[in-house]
Symmetry: C2
Subunit: 155 residues, 2 copies
DNA sequence: TTTTTAGTTCGGCACTAATCGAACTAGATT
DNA sequence: AATCTAGTTCGATTAGTGCCGAACTAAAAA
């Protein structure tokens, strides 16, 4: 593929990833910066370069980058003798992603337990439904735990 | 537990679930209606009852209920000789939840593949990182598939 | 045929979130 | 000491959501 064609496709992909990330709760600018840092061949962007590339104000860049950094999705490095920050994305550890999913499930599990405990009739439609969900969640959480161990062993 | 005390705790739980659901992208009113339908002992609420209970306008109720229904989270039933709709929450099938998670992963996987394909240097830091993430995701997706089968067999 | 019931749709207000520009800061350079 | 660089912080503005009331509709009841 020609370089110019690849660049064009990369830009399109950044936009697509941007929209995808917006759905994950990122603000538009942050979502696209993240896309930039993932997609482009250049792997470390300075603050100024991001402002240039994305056509955004310095203040927007500043807030977006801070947010992304706090969430642990990007980081920056510096090189001695150079005051600039070089931003790059932090590789998402797959086990960490699974952990996150699991934690969310565990929180939901706790809530569902609370609902059931407050039911007058523990055999009502909803109570029964919720108990089933609970059982299923417990099954998957237990097995995810094992999968994580297996994955760590294999890699 | 006394009925009045339970009711009080149920109301609190609805509020808590409401806030939780807001974080999942539901609008405040929809988030709390969902809580109501899950928590209360009464398992089918009419439109009017929801308006009453939640102290919201009919229009808000209408939009919130439509949204929840479109998302497949609640449904309504009718009884012959009664024009009212009786809303209730749809029990989340655990396997369905896992499917959803899996589909999200698969979509991410497709995106990551696109990124890698557009990289000039397939051995660059980011390309390598992304390939690792890809491998991990494939591992978990494959095994989730097996877990689902096992779960279905056991239940 | 008129009225009532059970909602839906629409326009607008209120509030929140996103982005901007301008002023500022702290460290490096001249 | 003054200037430059690399950002940050702080209102102001704009864009977007959420919710409401009022008007509307379609079916049932009187």
């Amino acid at each position: 593929m020609e370089d110019s064609e690849r660049l064009k496709k990369q830009k399109e992909l950044i936009e697509q990833i941007g929209r995808q990330n917006e759905k994950e709760g990122f603000q538009p600018v942050a979502a696209r910066i993240l896309g930039l840092l993932m997609v482009m061949d250049k792997e470390e962007y300075t603050f100024e370069e991001i402002v240039e590339e994305m056509q955004i104000s310095k203040s927007s860049a500043s807030t977006a980058l801070k947010n992304l950094e706090i969430r642990g999705i990007i980081e920056y490095v510096t090189y001695s003798g150079d005051r600039k920050r070089y931003f790059r994305f932090v590789s998402g550890e797959i086990v960490g992603m699974i952990d996150e999913m699991e934690n969310k499930m565990i929180r939901n599990l706790a809530t569902i337990n609370q609902i059931i405990e407050l039911k007058k009739d523990p055999n009502s439609r909803n109570a029964t439904f919720l108990k089933n969900v609970l059982k299923g969640m417990e099954f998957f959480i237990k097995n995810l735990e094992e999968l994580k161990i297996q994955y760590k062993r294999e890699h």
